[in-house]
């Protein structure tokens, strides 16, 4: 060891660097926390969770979980979470279906379809999601006609009072149907599905492109049509590449659902913002938000990892 100055010591140096970094982090955290505690106690807002049991006093629209203003804050937040989960689950399914269709359209034998799929992806990916959501809600959905003038499609009625699924009828100027979706949910879902589908389409396209051309040719020589080849031969193999890529897209969709406030849908973030305003508990509310979304992401990741293992084993 003699002759080697300490700053070139291969064993000491890493320890010193780590100690310095660790100390800096500790000092910064202690500084921030110290300020937080001091400022919060000055404002009389020290960390406490008792307010969660107080009655909320506000209503939450379209809750799957029954909720009214007498129930406590934690029930309101839970109702918001259920609303978030609802839009995330339906959105995941919708975006996957649409994304797969658009992604495989890039390999269609029809040149027009190919170009259109490309244009769709380029258009959607370069326009901010928030702008798209506002567009869907304020421009498209809010200008739907109401009453007898409502748009009628087979099995679907689009009216300003809501989107009615199944056989619906006009009763006293009001539409009645077996299932009604509010405009807010409809707009958010449409925006999220269309946005995420563009990204999922890219993942699918990349996965399909990774399959060697020999596979296509072999299937063709067996007499399978283009569509059969794609659906039976190429896609199942491409899943190996697609599934890991989907993971991050699914997580983005879950996180993007927090833009629901832009179109008036009461998701977790919207309820949390109201809660913050009625209670003034900024730190607690932010902690709840961060914790919940982190858990949601981890759940999606865990699910996708299991799916991934399934796909990889099947290949053998």
């Amino acid at each position: 060891m003699k002759g080697t100055p300490w700053w070139r010591n291969r064993r000491l140096l890493p320890l010193l660097i780590q100690a310095a970094v660790g100390l800096t982090i500790l000092v910064v955290i202690a500084f921030l926390l110290g300020n937080l505690v001091r400022n919060l106690s000055a404002a009389g807002l020290l960390l406490s969770w008792r307010w969660l049991n107080l009655p909320a006093g506000f209503d939450v629209s379209e809750t799957l979980l029954p909720f009214n203003a007498e129930l406590p804050y934690w029930r309101a937040l839970l109702a918001g979470l259920v609303n978030t989960l609802r839009v995330v689950v339906v959105g995941l399914v919708g975006a996957t279906v649409l994304g797969t269709l658009v992604g495989t359209a890039a390999f269609s034998s029809n040149a027009l379809l190919k170009r259109l799929a490309r244009a769709y992806v380029e258009l959607i990916r370069n326009v901010p999601l928030l702008l798209q959501l506002l567009f869907w809600y304020f421009v498209i959905f809010l200008s739907l006609p109401d009453g007898p003038a409502a748009l009628r499609l087979p099995g679907l009625v689009l009216a300003k009072s809501g989107l009615y699924l199944g056989p619906s009828a006009l009763v006293d100027g009001v539409w009645q149907g077996p299932a009604r979706i509010t405009l807010e949910f409809g707009a958010l879902l449409t925006g999220l599905v269309i946005h995420s589908a563009a990204f999922i389409a890219e993942v699918v396209r990349g996965g399909v492109a990774a399959i060697p051309g020999g596979q296509w040719e072999a299937a063709r020589s067996l007499g399978l049509t283009h569509r059969q080849t794609l659906a039976r031969i190429v896609l199942p193999q491409a899943l190996r590449v697609i599934v890991p890529g989907l993971n991050s897209q699914y997580i983005s969709l879950a996180k993007n659902s927090s833009l629901a406030i832009a179109c008036g849908y009461s998701d977790l973030y919207a309820v949390a913002e109201t809660t913050l305003n009625q209670t003034g508990r900024a730190v607690e509310v932010v902690l709840i938000l961060l914790g919940t979304y982190l858990t949601l992401d981890l759940a999606i990741s865990a699910l996708m990892n299991r799916l991934n293992r399934l796909v990889q084993i099947q290949e053998r």
């Binding site: 890493p14 660097i17 780590q18 970094v21 660790g22 982090i25 921030l32 300020n35 937080l36 400022n39 919060l40 404002a43 269609s108 034998s109 029809n110 040149a111 027009l112 379809l113 259109l116 380029e122 258009l123 990916r125 370069n126 326009v127 901010p128 999601l129 928030l130 702008l131 506002l134 567009f135 304020f138 421009v139 997580i251 996180k255 993007n256 927090s258 833009l259 406030i261 832009a262 973030y269 913002e273 913050l276 900024a282 730190v283 932010v286 938000l289 961060l290 979304y293 982190l294 992401d297 981890l298």
Partner: protein, 401 residues
């Protein structure tokens, strides 16, 4: 081989591509019908129902927000400087040649300078400024291409360093101080604010992201764990909750009055947010690097810092380039979220305009213009990235030859 098979006539090729099978034919016809109907509806709306007065009346507000009228010459000056610098860099890149892409770009630029001010019904003096700036850009392009070889090589090599200098100068021009009348951040708005926030975050998140990526792959457990926790924490949270945290809690975390104001607070949140994503992109580049590279560098006697700076990063960043620029594009789009926390960025200004009773219900026009603006900015970034990638790959392949 029959030459006709090799290059069938255009009509025949079209027929094969669009009507190859009966099903393809049906799809083509259905798509064409749908496209036609959509285009007709859009045209119908754009020409008869749309009222573009909302854009014409508010073009200044959308561009710079409530930036004081008397100080706007500073922004024109900055635009002029930026355009000259762009032209000069462009000229240095291409020299005296004008390839087809350049001619198209120049044509587009001239057309834009002629059409946009006219469409916005701007005053003649403002139109003249548009023309002057477009002219300046092309002139700088031409002059730099023509005369730059006369300059000493060192000037050409150092030219890219002018950009960071220009950036700092730009912020100074916008914000004032040092003799210029200060313009408060609360008066910045519109496209100006969007670009400031996006550029600030892009410039700073890049080095931060590289540091985090190196930290995550470090052999020192504390660095590794610290970076990993940071990256995963940030990536697990929606941006809106982080912006919310920045606006509502940062004031509690710092001693009274020391917290930056809302505009810079949001810019820092965007920076820290984007850094985590850039770190992941760079890490992918680092992973793609063969181990032999580091070992070879070490055996040549380079120390850790030199290895990282001269061997690891240049190669990793080239691999990470597309994903990193993708993150920058996302970041530019994410600035729209600032409107949700009450800042008057491009979208926030647009929403404020639509609250004006005179322009009530003009959502479609405003959102469409914003969408076109964002699309152009993002597409341009993407194209630039592809060009850069192409250039880097060409360089590396000539070097290896």
């Amino acid at each position: 081989m029959d030459p006709r098979l090799k290059s069938p006539s255009r009509l025949a090729r079209l027929r094969r591509d669009l009507f190859g099978t009966p099903l393809d034919g049906a799809i083509t016809i259905a798509l064409l019908a749908a496209l036609g109907a959509g285009a007709q509806a859009l045209l119908n709306w754009a020409l008869s129902r749309a009222d573009w007065a909302v854009i014409q009346a508010n073009s200044t507000l959308l561009a710079v927000g409530r930036y004081p009228m008397a100080q706007q010459w500073r922004l024109w000056l900055l635009t002029g400087l930026l355009c000259s610098a762009t032209g000069a860099s462009w000229g240095l890149l291409r020299r005296r040649s004008w390839p087809r892409n350049d001619r198209i770009a120049a044509g587009l630029l001239l057309a834009m300078a002629l059409v946009v001010p006219a469409a916005l019904e701007l005053g003649l003096d403002v139109r003249a400024r548009w023309w002057a700036i477009a002219g300046l850009l092309l002139l700088a392009r031409w002059a730099a291409g023509r005369w730059s070889h006369r300059l000493p090589l060192i000037c050409q090599k150092l030219w890219p360093l002018a950009w960071p200098g220009l950036y700092v100068l730009g912020l100074g021009l916008i914000g004032g101080g040092l003799g210029l009348q200060p313009v408060r951040t609360s008066q910045w708005g519109g496209l100006l604010l969007t670009l400031i926030e996006a550029s600030f975050a892009i410039v700073l998140c890049f080095p931060l992201g590289i540091a985090l990526a190196l930290g995550r792959r470090s052999e020192l457990p504390l660095l590794r764990w610290g970076s990993t926790i940071y990256i995963e924490f940030i990536r697990g949270a929606p941006l809106i909750t982080l912006l919310f945290l920045g606006q509502n809690i940062l004031g509690f975390l710092l001693p009274g009055g020391l917290a930056p104001d809302r505009v810079w607070r949001a810019a820092w949140v965007l920076t820290f947010f984007a850094a985590a994503y850039v770190a992941e992109a760079v890490r992918a580049g680092l992973t793609a690097l063969p181990r032999g590279q580091v070992e070879a560098a070490r055996s040549l006697g380079l120390n850790s810092l030199q290895t990282v700076l001269h061997v690891v990063l240049p190669q990793a960043l080239r691999v990470a380039l597309p994903a990193t620029v993708g993150q920058f594009i996302t970041l530019l789009q994410d600035t729209t979220l600032l409107s949700l926390i009450g800042l008057l960025d491009l979208l926030g200004t647009a929403r404020a305009i639509m609250a004006n009773p005179d322009f009530l219900g003009r959502n479609a026009e405003v959102y469409l213009v914003l969408a076109v603006l964002f699309w152009c900015c993002c597409a341009a970034l993407g194209l630039g990235c592809r060009a850069l990638e192409h250039r880097l790959n060409r360089h590396s392949s000539t070097a290896s030859r």
